[in-house]
């Protein structure tokens, strides 16, 4: 299936963002806002955490 870690993360973030946008909002404008904010923040925060973890190898 999808081998790219980033692509998997992006697809996962999009699915979760769309799900919560339709679960919690009723207007199209509000839903788009939630998709952008939630999906975007999931990706950005993951990248920040990955960057912070970079100097700390497992061994």
């Amino acid at each position: 299936m999808i081998r790219s870690h980033f692509l998997n993360m992006a697809v996962f973030s999009l699915l979760v963002a769309v799900f919560f946008a339709f679960l919690t909002q009723s207007g199209a404008r509000d839903r788009i806002k939630v998709i952008v904010i939630l999906g975007g923040s999931m990706i950005v925060v993951s990248l920040i955490i990955a960057y912070v973890m970079y100097p700390f190898p497992l061994r």
């Binding site: 299936m1 999808i2 081998r3 998997n8 697809v11 996962f12 699915l15 979760v16 769309v18 799900f19 339709f22 679960l23 009723s26």
Partner: protein, 162 residues
């Protein structure tokens, strides 16, 4: 004597039982409970999202969870898988080639060895972790959909079609 608001028991009695059908439908197929309640557009989106997560999970070599008495979290993971309704049967069949829900617990049992071997085959896949995450997320989303259908059916959430 101060005025005490009187709660009419009639609406509560009227609502009891109204949630059973939508919740059952939501469990049978993601989004079906919302479709039944008149939320057609939402239902289609929910079905697409949960089905996509499920298909990606299966396609990425995710595995259905088995109850292992030595691992308490395996109970939660198996419950989460069960929330997918009949789709869980598909993932179990693809993972174990049978409807297995629990490890026998006896290391020497041939069934335990076979189930463990099938599980290890999945774990060796480089996309196993992604697949498992998608599968578990699909189950969690369907649990939320069942609870949302309950809220709409009992009038706790808007009943207007959307």
């Amino acid at each position: 004597m101060p005025d005490v608001p009187v709660v009419d028991p009639a609406p509560a009695a009227e609502n009891s039982g109204r949630f059973v059908v939508p919740c059952l439908l939501a469990w049978l197929l993601p989004g079906l409970g919302h479709f039944y309640l008149g939320k057609r557009k939402r239902a289609v989106v929910f079905f697409c999202v949960v089905a996509t997560a499920f298909v990606l999970g299966i396609g990425s070599d995710g595995a259905a969870s088995l109850i292992d008495p030595r691992q308490p979290l395996s109970y939660l993971a198996t419950f989460d898988n069960l929330a997918m309704g009949p789709l869980d049967l598909v993932s179990r069949q693809l993972t174990f080639h049978e409807m297995a829900y629990r490890l026998p617990g006896d290391e020497s049992s041939p069934r335990q060895q076979e189930l463990t071997r099938l599980l290890r085959d999945r774990v060796k896949s480089p996309t196993y972790e992604y697949g498992n995450t998608f599968l578990l997320t699909a189950g969690l989303m369907n649990i939320l959909l069942i609870l949302d259908a309950f809220d709409i059916a009992t009038g706790r959430k808007d009943r207007a079609p959307a």
